[in-house]
Amino acid sequence: MLILLSIVSFGLVVLHSASDGNWVVVEAQLVRLGLGFGLMILIAQIPPYFLLRTAPLLYGLGLILLLLIYPFGTEVNGSRRWLRVPGVLNFQPSELMKLFLPMVLAWYFHERHLPPGLKPVLVSCLLLLVPAGLIIVQPDLGTGLMIATSGFLVLILAGLPWRYMLRVGALVLISAPALWFVIKDYQRGRILTMFDPERDPLGAGWNIIQSKIAIGSGGFSGKGLLNGTQSHLDFLPESSTDFIIAVLAEELGFLGVVSLLALYGLFILRGLMMSLNAQDTFGRLLCGSITFTFSVYVFVNIGMVSGILPVVGVPLPLVSYGGTALLTLFAGFGLMMSIHSHRRITLL
């Protein structure tokens, strides 16, 4: 909890700078964080066995919502991600799926003998691929892949035999060249850009070039808060959302980045402890999956901004400005807290 608060306040400071000292943005983020904490506490009150029972139901509901997008979704920037209930709420079903999928998989393996045999693996793969596929065709490749990853993490934590993983890995490697021709042009471009941002310095490469300059020019101790030229003069795009780590690196330097990563590390460690303390498979798998997914988010975001991964729209958890993703995160933490705080009561 303490670690969470430090990360969040760290994030707020950086966000304040990233938004040009705009307090309105910070206030909005504070409101969201408040909501997030509220949601977290709320979910923490739900007993885990209730979560366990409703997991398949929620998963089904999530699937239905994903399907509803096709007739009723709102199109924004060429992809249908949003479901709008006029005047009431406005949300992305894929965000729900981020939690429902690990839940349903944890539920599934909770009932099964572990390590899983071939059949449960195939079933769980199906459970995993259907929502991931639906999200990818929205199209929202980033979220789809992240959801698939969170699902795979459950599988791996559940004891997916290494030999399966090796085979799937080999298969992916072999099909990689074929995949190259399947993916869309802009996606191909992003991968090429990662390897050589200078091939289109004013277009696709712009973001990554500018973020690398921002990070690099920060040096060891940074230019000081509010003094980052790359972000304040708008050279750095998306400086308060996906590329916020570049602002941090520019203004607080290497020290800032390492401090943040250390906090993240502690947080992840704490999450793992919680998962190890969980008393049933469902709790363990869910906690573990959420924790590792969180780590993947951190890695993918910083990796993307620093130019070792292609650009995918993944925010930096707890720091980036943005609503729904933040709420999902807190809901996830709520699930973990629920499992953690109810362990004595649910003792079998």
């Binding site: 990070i215 020019s217 290497f254 590390g265 793992l272 070792i308």
Partner: protein
């Protein structure tokens, strides 16, 4: 699937999980280390490179143009200043569809056909397409307002305010001051790109060209912090531009205006020089053009009209027009002859009205020769030869001097060379010699050529400026002063421009010649054939003493190849009329050369223009000061800066300008 029936083994499941979680933790650790390494790499190894690139992103250098120096006349009247102009500028690279943009722009700004064509031409350049270039000039308030209201529709276009050259005196000073022109691509290739970083104009003619470096000043720059869209956020630091030096000329706008009124729209040139300094007091060539037309770029239509006009308004007659000097050469030949003791003051000849070379049938006539051979001036000495402008005397004198002496000694008055210090376009005229004729005509020098040269005809050519300079040397009794436009300028090559042999004539030669020239104007009320040639139309009206000489030059050729009405051709075949003078005789303040193209038609015309034209310089005459002030009062408010007006109030002019009315 046998195990499916087996009991769940919580212990082993937990074991698997611990194992997997530990693996995961290691993987996360590795990945995070990778991130730290990566960020560390960027922030150490690439640190300096990144800092440089972020600085380059952030800081832009914006050139600040210096303000071009003003050009003032001797009284502080503005001859060239700068006025604000709002131009529409375009960055060609940023225009997606030029034709679309132009179409909408033409509607918004109500552009004319010609403006549209010019826009297309100026924006269609192929080099430096990323730089802003002006395409529409001098927008009105309304146009600016309309553009700004529609600005969102025109990315890549903007209205920029700049200072551009302005010539408040218009055509009056066009040939004296010159003008600036917009720098074109050809100029740009040879210019120092830094010095002209944000300057659009360069001096192309006259003083504007010669003093380009001084007038231009030095470019400054601002280092500004700009955001990603190129918007300036703040000025970090920079170097202020050093504005161009103001240039004060010897020119007197009042004198120039008086000369212009005197010419009364006729083609011709007036050059007045201060014999003390060589400063050019007036440099007028008519017809002229409005130099303001050229500043922002002249339209094809206007330019063609100027270029093809039969009156050649673009032609600077005062410094480029080369004419035979006619009888105005006579005083100078007289000086040489007296100096070399070829004749003395008392030597005289009998003028029968014609002259014959020994052994040659041809008659060289005097201007009052009659068919009955009973003209002539009778007994003529050098003084009379001047005030009666006797041709026969000078035919004889020239033959006695010989071509070699003539072509050698006439050099000392600046003939045959461009001796003006700061007018780069001035022509050198032509002083013929044996060598010259052999080289250009492949012919030997005939004695007849010498005879013609004696009265300033034949091959010799001079410009009005050269003539004025020669008169100044005469007024100075031999002291050569190189003509110049700008005050307070040191010229390294001033010595070189001094003609060879200048100032070598003995002292006794001056007064007889000047006396003869005085009589040209002042000898009057005599019997027929004894008055000065200019007395009847000048000398009667003035109360001070001046030395003058009239002259008539043959028209060498009608240059225009086109077919004109016969009456026009007739007019253009008339001889050119010269008049040279300096005054006052004892302490010359002004030396003057006037040329009127085809002005020697009828005695009446000649009389009229000469009377109107004579510009006479006074010194502290109460009447004239009053007239001068009136001119000032009217023009001062328009042309002078406040500071000049203030200083004018306290310093009374030491001399003034007066135009004699017929």
């Amino acid at each position: 699937m046998r195990e499916a029936l087996a009991l769940k083994d919580h212990r082993s499941e937990s074991q698997i999980y611990v194992e997997r979680a530990a693996t995961g933790a290691v993987v996360v650790l590795v990945l995070f280390s990778l991130l730290i390494l990566r960020v560390g790499y960027l922030q150490t190894v690439q640190y300096s490179d990144s800092v440089a690139r972020s600085e380059k992103n952030r800081v832009q250098v914006v050139a600040r143009p210096p303000v071009r120096g003003l050009i003032l006349d001797r009284q502080g009247v503005l001859l060239a200043d700068n006025r604000p102009s709002r131009n529409l500028e375009v960055i060609p690279e940023q225009i997606v569809n030029m034709e679309d943009t132009l179409f909408h722009l033409a509607t918004v700004l109500e552009m004319s056909e010609e403006e549209t064509a010019r826009f297309r031409r100026l924006s269609g350049r192929t080099t430096r397409r990323f730089e802003s270039a002006p395409v529409l000039f001098d927008l009105s308030d309304e146009q600016v307002a309309r553009f700004e209201a529609n600005r969102f529709r025109f990315p890549g276009l903007s209205v920029q305010a700049k200072l551009v050259r302005n010539y408040p005196q218009g055509a009056l000073m066009a040939h004296a001051v010159g003008s600036v022109r917009r720098i074109n691509d050809r100029d740009a290739a040879s210019l120092n790109a830094t010095a002209y970083a944000s300057t659009d104009h360069i001096g192309k003619l006259g003083v504007e060209r010669f003093y380009e470096t001084e007038l231009l000043g030095q470019v400054g720059y601002d280092r500004v912090e700009a955001n990603a869209r190129g918007r300036m956020m703040r000025v970090l630091d920079g170097v202020k531009p050093i504005n161009g030096q103001n240039l004060t000329l010897y020119l007197d706008a009042g004198l120039q205006a008086a000369a212009d009124r005197a010419l009364d729209g006729r083609r011709g040139a007036v050059v007045a020089i201060d014999p003390k300094t060589g400063g050019i007091l007036a440099l007028l060539s008519r017809p002229a053009y409005d130099p303001n037309l050229f500043v922002q770029g002249i339209s094809h239509q206007n330019y063609n009209a100027l270029r093809t006009s039969m009156d050649a308004p673009l032609f600077n007659r005062a410094i480029q027009g080369q004419y035979q000097p006619g009888s105005t050469l006579k005083p100078f030949i007289g000086l040489i002859a007296l100096g070399g003791s070829t004749v003395t003051v008392s030597d005289s000849i009998e003028d029968p009205g014609w002259y014959q070379l020994p052994g040659n049938e041809r008659l060289y006539r005097d201007w009052n020769w009659t068919k009955t051979n009973d003209g002539g001036h009778g007994r003529v000495n050098i003084e009379k030869a001047l005030y009666r402008s006797c041709n026969v005397y000078f035919y004889d004198l020239a033959v006695r001097l010989g071509i070699d002496r003539l072509s050698q000694d006439l050099k000392q008055f600046g003939f045959g060379q461009a001796s003006v210090l700061d007018l780069p376009d001035a022509n050198a005229g032509l002083l013929p010699s044996r060598a010259w004729k052999r080289a250009t005509r492949k012919l030997p020098w005939y004695p007849g050529d010498t005879v013609n040269l004696g009265i300033g005809h034949g091959d010799i050519l001079v410009t009005p400026l050269q003539m004025a300079a020669a008169v100044a040397a005469l007024a100075n009794r031999g002291r050569w002063v190189a003509p110049r436009m700008a005050q307070n300028q040191s010229f390294e090559d001033a010595a070189r421009s001094s003609p060879s042999g200048a100032g070598q004539l003995p002292e006794h030669v001056w007064e007889p010649i000047i006396g003869g020239m005085e009589k040209v104007v002042h000898r009057g009320n005599q019997i027929y054939g004894e008055n000065g040639t200019a007395w009847s139309y000048i000398g009667r009206d003035i109360e001070y003493r001046m030395a003058g000489k009239s002259g008539t030059a043959q028209v060498v050729a009608i240059e225009q190849g086109e077919v004109y009405e016969a009456s026009i051709i007739e007019e253009r075949k008339r001889k050119h009329a010269w008049f040279i003078a300096f005054a006052p005789i004892e302490d010359p303040k002004i030396a003057l050369a006037v040329l009127l193209e085809n002005g020697a038609a009828a005695v009446n015309t000649r009389r009229q223009w000469l009377v109107k034209l004579l510009i006479i310089i006074f010194w502290k005459g109460p009447v004239l000061e009053c007239r001068t002030s009136r001119w000032r009062g009217a023009n001062e408010r328009r042309f002078c800066s406040k500071a000049t007006r203030r200083s004018n109030k306290f310093s009374k002019p030491s001399w003034g300008v007066y135009l004699v009315q017929p």
